[in-house]
Amino acid sequence: MTQPKCTDPVILNQWYPLGAIDEAPRSRVADTVLLEEKLSFAVAGDGAVAAWRTRDGLKAGAPVEIAALTDTLPAISAYGYVWASLGTPPVKLFPIPEYAEPDRRNLNAATIGVNVSAPRAIENFLDMGHFPYVHTDILGAEPHTEVKEYDVEISIDRDEILATRCRFFQPMASTTSDGGADVDYIYRVPHPFCSVLYKSSPLDETRQDVIAVFLQPTDQEHVRAHMMLCVLDDENEDKVIKRFQQTIFGQDKPILENQYPKRLPLDPRAETPIRADKSAIAYRRWLSQKGVTYGVIPAAA
């Protein structure tokens, strides 16, 4: 048994996305990196998935028969991605029930490499205050800069962070909206390096679009960010929906890559939180309580 490079058991024993199933050629080897280890994965014609430590004789692009593979890693298919683990992962991945609704458009908006630690990227995903400055005229616009009070809880039974009653003024809330409005959000952090947001749908006020970021840490300071969309939109082509999300993510990227230190400091005195950062404060505490050390600078004991 190879000794894993990542020595943080909390992080090692999670599921991580490796790639979008729609983009993987069938029954061929694809190479990637997870937690500093070279991995390969493949998707069979029937949708079965497999992942293994990269080995000689199975080069990227080569045909592979998944059923015949031995010595593979735990792997599942979920939310349009191949997920794998280098440790002993939980029996089930966190639920996103909306993904199964028949009228949803489920897409991988893109998988993009970012020079940042996974927890910094999660914090950015939870953050609303930057909308007018980073996503100017799309997700926010001056002078509407206020982050109104919202609620955050750490759900003990589900072991996830939940931020509710979030609202922010958006001049163009999605591809289907054409005016400014206060948009409602709910944020979930059900996995140390995954987050899911629910945002009021411009099409149906009783339902919400679901946007998730699933991070595949390639090392402590680099991630592959997989952006999943699960939206209500019967009008736009896939590529238009993807373009919107890629524009947003592309705007966050230089911010993330200019954050220092790259690893998320868990010492409460490393940075200056404000009330708007309640969800980030909860997230940092949650990581501390779990004893996470990978991708973070742990608080001095």
Partner: protein
């Protein structure tokens, strides 16, 4: 109306959006799913551009590919000020062509490094970064002496040209390929100047600068 076959995160497409914004030219966008869909290699797009590359413009039936070529066309055709590509100034035209070719070198190095880091392209990343630094040293030196001689732009004119627009995007996006601009202070100042040109617009990955000095 001009049709631009466009991908939001492409610096080469952005060059054209930027020039058209500055010139006040109206256009419509045909989105191409460059990533992850690889639509630029799809059958329909290869009929538009057999090289399978973005950007392409279609101006009333004239279909042009290659960002630098399209900059030349747009400026020659639509720039009423006649400054972005001064057709009667042989010396400037020579300088502009020289820097358009330099821009191709930036694309081959800095842009390739960005594609490697962000979109997982299989390239020799060390060679790309080293090549970009070699070009940036040359560019910084040129711009530093420009400042000393009272020249703000790449070419010997009192105004920017399409040469500046051609070189700007992948310089600005270089950090996404792990290429810091900290060692190139004159390049950083030139980027600020370009961001203050009337009609300047941003793309994902490029921030605005402070406002220009009041006239």
């Amino acid at each position: 109306m001009i049709k631009l076959y466009d991908y939001e995160l492409s610096g080469n497409c952005y060059k054209l959006r930027l020039l058209m914004s500055i010139l006040g030219v109206e256009y419509e966008t045909v989105p191409v799913d460059f990533y992850p869909g690889r639509e630029h290699k799809s059958a329909w797009f290869l009929r538009v551009n057999p090289l399978g590359q973005l950007p392409v413009v279609d101006d009333d039936g004239l279909v042009l590919r290659d960002a630098q070529a399209i900059l030349v066309y747009l400026a020659a055709r639509y720039d009423t000020s006649g400054t972005w590509y001064p057709r009667d100034d042989a010396r400037l035209l020579g300088e502009i062509s020289q820097w358009l070719a330099f821009a191709d070198g930036i694309t081959a190095t800095a842009s390739a490094a960005r594609l490697h880091d962000g979109l997982f392209y299989d390239v020799d990343i060390d060679a790309c970064r080293a090549g970009a630094h070699r070009l940036f040293r040359i560019l910084d030196e040129h711009l530093w002496f420009g400042e000393q001689e009272g020249r703000d732009w790449l070419c010997g004119a009192a105004h920017p040209t399409i040469a500046d627009i051609a070189c700007f995007p992948y310089v600005m996006l270089s950090e996404e390929g792990g290429i810091s601009r900290q060692d190139y202070p004159a390049i950083r100042r030139w980027c600020d100047r370009l961001k203050r040109v009337d009609g300047f617009i941003v793309m994902s990955g490029i921030f605005p600068a402070s406002r220009a000095r009041a006239a």
